[in-house]
């Protein structure tokens, strides 16, 4: 183990291991649960999962990096999923992306310095009739314009600052 690794509370994983004990096909599901617990997949968590599943850390990391859902770095308090699907593309998703990146000062996959927002472009959220769409913390915002996208983010930031 590296000396700079995160020191996560690994005890939180025990109920997950208990639920999937003996199931050698559960790696993806276990990683999903772990990410729900920690918000991302810290290195020490990856190592612990490898140890308990009886596979190499390389195998766990291989799976974690294959799927777009998994994150190896912490995300901001509010995760913005910006849809770049076909319908959104046709309806101007690029201009929404540009507006959000300008507003937040981050790129795709980035997190703002204050840890309030992370931005991630995704393939399709399946709300095509509302395109262009973004989803923030599982709430979908549709029929966006660059200005509307900025306003939504500003509103969330203001609510976060006052709470």
């Amino acid at each position: 183990m590296c000396k700079d690794c995160a020191k996560s509370d690994l005890a939180l994983l025990e109920p997950v291991f208990a639920e999937f004990e003996g199931d050698r096909h559960a790696l993806v599901t276990i990683l999903q649960r772990a990410q729900e617990i920690y918000g991302y997949l810290p290195t020490d968590v990856v190592y612990r999962i490898a140890e308990r599943q009886g596979v190499s850390p390389a195998k766990v990391l291989g799976v974690a990096t294959f799927y777009s859902q998994f994150r190896l770095k912490p995300v901001g308090k509010n995760l913005i999923l910006l849809c770049k699907g076909t319908a959104c593309h046709v309806n101007g998703a690029d201009s929404i992306a540009a507006a959000l990146m300008d507003e937040l000062g981050i790129g795709d996959g980035g997190t703002t310095e204050d840890g309030m927002f992370s931005l991630k472009e995704v393939a399709c959220l399946g709300c095509c009739s509302l395109s262009p769409v973004m989803m923030i913390n599982e709430t979908a915002y549709g029929s966006l314009t660059p200005q509307k996208a900025r306003d939504i983010v500003r509103k969330i930031a203001a609510e976060g600052a006052s709470s």
Binding site: L27, S68, T86, H89, G126, A140
Partner: protein, 582 residues
């Protein structure tokens, strides 16, 4: 009157949840239903008095009080303006709904509601617990064969053939898998079915499990569909409690367990062998076929995989007979198909129509054509594996063979409509950006081929195209089609090939004239200010990040082309339409 709010993902995103809460606060007894498919009219509120009395559309939170009053008193005069316009009623009237038969009508969270709509009668008929003789697995497969049902996920392979192969495969332990990893951008019918009618998926899967002899079943759902997962979980729990799932179903010897596995975001997992790898907890990389999953699938046991929409048709076929299903459609394509109409369409949403209708019938007849008074250019079908079909081919019937002949495919049913503001070269670039990112990397042709295609397309859209680029693209496409291991790679060139085939002039304009006919490619646009329209408000000059706009207050401004970075900020800022984009 009973108030029912449409609460699929689209409805909720449009504000249905707020409308529901506001109505409930007023003391109304509010029911829910799924997605009726008219996404462009959400949020939708239905008023029932036994039967549907009125459908109210684009209902806002602020309308809650008058909707409540109307429902209480039965006097609808206060909500006249919210009633669905007559022309929009055509949207539903022109459809034939089988897979979507309950969507937007019944409460998706209620087992009783599904049962009241003939739910679980098909499985009862098969198991012979409805007083009838029951059906053998062979008879079920025969009925599906009669129906002509083909895989609705894209490939269009006959469903009965797959079931039969899995049934005849050696082994006691067999698996049934539902592919709900709806990955094609622009398609969302599977999400709508699970959110709006989860029990029809469960029943369809039970029938398939009985037919092939499986006692274990999985639904592999995209993690991006949280509401679908929640509703399916509830449906499974309710069905288990009612003895419709688990051991000894309906008191017979038939047992089947159903579990949900959430996907983790990888387009390639829509490919069946990659999906199996993912179910096993591995990187979702396709396996070589043969052996096919029917022989060696999940944990090397015989497995059968079908898509959500396919399963959603099954109970209807068993109850109404395969012949009733095959009576609809064409020689080579039977029954109905669901399409997700999106893009620059006036009436976007989910439509289900009999095979054999033309693309024009669907796009113009039901969808109302292109919105904002613009001109139709093309429709993209089949997502990243499909192609763009031009206006001249709009009379092509919806049929696996006829659509295949255009270079596009039926696919899972995404129909993205484009108008004259969409650049077809940029469209091809968009899809190759997608497939290059989603390529799993296992085979060279796909991993490197899609990357090279993407690079070439980027070069063309950025005005650095070279003579011979189109031929280079065609050569690469052929190599990838011939050499790639799985469906993702083999079909990835389709968006490039169809745009070259039908829109070659746009490629040539980009390469030879450094011009984007649709004015979409940023690097090829030029901006100028019409002095006659410019009021000299200075707004554009203030917005320009490059300081390329000069001019004084109340005098026409001008853009210095040598400084312009072509960002378009001036055009977006100008309130007088004075910035011309060419």
């Amino acid at each position: 009157m009973r108030i029912v709010v449409g609460e699929g993902s689209c409805g909720l995103a449009a504000g249905a949840g707020k409308v529901h809460a506001a109505l409930a606060k007023l003391g109304a007894d509010v029911g829910i239903t799924g997605c009726i498919g008219m996404c462009y009219l959400e949020p939708i509120v239905d008023l029932y008095d036994g039967a549907l009395v009125a459908r109210l559309v684009r209902v806002q939170e602020s309308d809650a009080e008058r909707v409540f009053k109307a429902a209480e008193s039965g006097d609808l005069s206060g909500v006249e303006d919210l009633k669905i316009p007559a022309e929009d009623e055509e949207f539903l009237a022109k459809q034939t709904r089988i897979a979507l038969r309950h969507c937007g009508i019944i409460d998706p969270e209620s087992l009783d509601a599904y049962r009241a709509a003939d739910g679980y009668k098909a499985i009862a008929k098969i198991l012979g617990v409805d007083g009838g003789p029951g059906m053998t697995p062979e008879q079920v497969i025969e009925e599906i064969k009669t129906s002509g049902l083909a895989g609705r996920g894209g490939a269009g392979f006959p469903t009965w053939f797959k079931w039969n192969a899995a049934r005849n495969a050696k082994g006691d332990e067999k698996y049934l898998i539902c592919n709900a990893d709806e990955g094609d951008p622009g398609a969302f019918m599977d999400r709508a079915v699970i959110e709006s009618d989860p029990h029809s998926l469960v029943e369809g899967m039970l029938i398939a499990a009985y037919a092939i002899g499986a006692s274990q079943a999985f639904v592999y759902v995209r993690a991006e569909y949280p509401l679908a997962i929640v509703r399916l979980q509830k449906a499974i729990r309710d069905a288990e409690e009612a003895g419709l799932l688990g051991d000894g179903i309906l008191g017979t010897g038939f047992s089947c367990r159903l579990r949900i596995k959430a996907g983790a975001g990888a387009f390639v997992c829509g490919e069946e062998t990659a999906l199996i790898e993912s179910l096993e907890g591995n990187r979702g990389m396709p396996r070589l076929k043969p052996p096919f999953p029917a022989e060696k699938g999940y944990t090397d046991k015989p497995s059968n995989i079908n898509n959500v929409e396919t399963f959603a048709n099954v109970a209807w076929i068993v109850l109404n007979g395969g012949a009733a299903f095959s009576a609809m459609g064409t020689e080579t394509s039977k029954g109905t198909k669901v399409f997700a109409l999106t893009g620059k369409i006036r009436r976007g949403g989910l439509v289900e129509v009999p095979m054999g209708l033309t693309l024009r019938d669907v796009i113009f007849g039901i969808g109302g054509g292109v919105r904002d008074g613009r001109r139709f250019k093309a429709v993209q079908m089949g997502g990243p594996s499909g192609g763009c079909i031009p206006e001249s081919l709009l009379d092509t019937p919806i049929d696996y063979k006829a659509l295949g002949a255009t270079g596009a495919i039926m696919g899972s049913g995404g129909m993205v409509v484009m108008d004259d503001s969409t650049c077809m070269v940029n469209m091809a670039r968009f899809f190759l950006d997608f497939t290059a990112k989603e390529s799993c990397g296992k085979c060279v042709h796909c991993r490197i081929g899609t990357k090279r295609l993407h690079e070439t397309l980027v070069r063309i859209t950025e005005g650095r195209g070279r003579d011979g680029d189109v031929e280079l693209l065609e050569e690469l496409c052929k190599g990838i089609k011939d050499g790639a291991l799985c469906g993702l790679g083999q079909t990835a060139p389709n968006p490039v090939l169809t745009t070259i085939r039908y829109f070659r002039d746009e490629y040539d304009a980009h390469i030879r004239e450094r011009r984007c006919p649709a004015h979409e490619c940023a690097a090829l646009r030029t901006f100028s200010i019409d002095a006659a329209k410019c009021k000299g408000c200075t707004a554009c000059a203030k917005k320009c990040p490059a300081g390329a706009i000069a001019g004084s207050l109340r005098n026409p401004h001008a853009i210095d082309a040598s400084k312009c970075v072509k960002c378009g900020a001036c055009a977006a800022t100008c309130r007088f339409g004075a910035v011309e984009v060419l």
